[in-house]
Amino acid sequence: MSATQQELLIAVVKVLVIFNALLILFSFMTYVERRMLAFMQFRLGPNRTGPLGLLQPIADGIKLFFKEELMPEGANKWLFMAAPAVAVMTAFLSMAVVPWGGPVTVKGREVTLQIADLDVGILYIFAISSLGVYGIVLAGWSANNKYTLMGGLRSSAQMFSYELALGLSWVGVIMLASSFRIGDIVAAQAGGFWRWNFVTQFVGFLVYVVAATAEVNRTPFDLPEAETELVGGFHTEYSSMRFALLQMAEYVNMITVSAIGANIFFGGWLAPIPALQAPFGFDLGLLWFLLKMAAALFFFVWLRGTLTRVRYDQLMHFGWKVLVPVATLNILLTAAAVTFLR
């Protein structure tokens, strides 16, 4: 095999592994979320399908496959069908630049545990997430239903506003690492958990947590699908597998922001204490990364079990008048620190 063919083969294998890992993680996440929410509310949750209810995601998948596909009257047929595809595509695309571990050497060849190691990795994620809003907007607009339209409008306003804060929360981290490459940002945090960015960029971290929650439409910012006032928001008219695709996009987005958060604020594949990086002779990078990502995912479920939905005007007020100024101030202070203290 020539070198190019080998490169291509490695790339294809990476894509397949990460794509399927995300699919499994998504379906398992729906189960984990329902069970954990149930425990938080003194219920049991789904526990009948298989041991501990573990086969519930599979049963749900089969059920959704056999449901009827509904097409609302007066809907814009092509856009209605395209919307879930757009949502899923943008959700999966951003995972392409997220590293799952440090570089490993296989048979004398260095392999990075990410699909594409772009030198503008973090900007790429920002670009793709700014496209993600179109899936929801299309879904809301094309269904010819006032509730879905309201949901779509809310989501475009919300995601647009919080995207700004999300991007600004990364700038401090980028300045500290002086690189857009996510691998470099992780490497810049080496040397123990007190050097991770959630310590040195604490304000940026807080802004990121709030903005990311709003960006993926999770409680307390799940206004695009507020069921008490909008029935189901932008996905009211969807059924069967198209509904499943919209759900999948949502969960994959949640997994993505967790993975990015773990990478840029919690040192990615680095161990909290350098001695724990390879205690048994081999690198535990992937394990550390997965642990951090799981903690972030748990945090999202915990939020959903704890907080109530905010009001729409409060959401916009908070985004523009609190989050953006705080993030900007953080950039100013970080820039001063980088210039004068280094």
Binding site: L79, L118, D119, V120, L123, Y124, F126, A127, I128, S130, L131, V133, Y134, V137, L138, G140, W141, L149, G152, L153, S156, A157, F160, E163, F180
Partner: protein, 168 residues
């Protein structure tokens, strides 16, 4: 054909076709979404040319930020299909034909030059984020760059002032 060439033709075809849809389509919402597709395919071409930074900025600024506002307004006003205006003054039509002809001539000249002289990029220039920043903040461009940012801030303040004016 190499992989790059195939990808280039795919992106180019998508960009041109969706650009045609932008103009030919009567429904403004379709036009807006077609324009997003055009921007995204252009970003793909920039990426193929070895400049991921420009590609990513293209998506963030045009396909993301600007088009989201377009789509938002179109949805908010619930714009319906455009109707063709009957008649119209012949002067207007002939001006359009003249300007269109001028554009066609310009494009032809550029294409002819490009086929004669070969590609126009500077040899050895890599368009990485670091390199672009170094050029942008060099003594040659930094004042222009800063002047642009002041202009944008001024426009922002102007928009705010207009939006805050009540009544009257």
């Amino acid at each position: 054909m190499s992989l790059d060439a195939i990808l280039f033709y795919v992106f180019a075809a998508v960009a041109v076709l969706s650009a045609v849809v932008v103009v030919a389509q009567r429904n403004p919402t379709y036009s807006a979404f077609a324009l997003i597709v055009t921007m995204a395919s252009l970003a793909g071409i920039f990426g193929l040319l070895g400049s991921p930074l420009i590609a990513v900025l293209q998506v963030i600024v045009y396909a993301g930020a600007i088009m989201v506002l377009f789509v938002f307004v179109l949805m908010l006003l619930n714009v319906q299909e455009e109707r063709r205006i009957e008649g119209g003054s012949p002067a207007f039509r002939w001006t359009a034909v003249g300007l269109g002809g001028l554009l066609a001539v310009q494009v032809t000249v550029v294409l002819l030059r490009a086929t004669r002289d070969g590609p126009a990029w500077a040899a050895g220039f890599d368009a990485s984020a670091r390199k672009v920043a170094q050029v942008l903040f060099s003594a040659q461009y930094v004042y222009v760059f800063e002047a642009t940012s002041i202009l944008i801030v001024a426009a922002l303040v102007g928009a705010l002032t207009l939006a805050r004016r009540t009544g009257k």
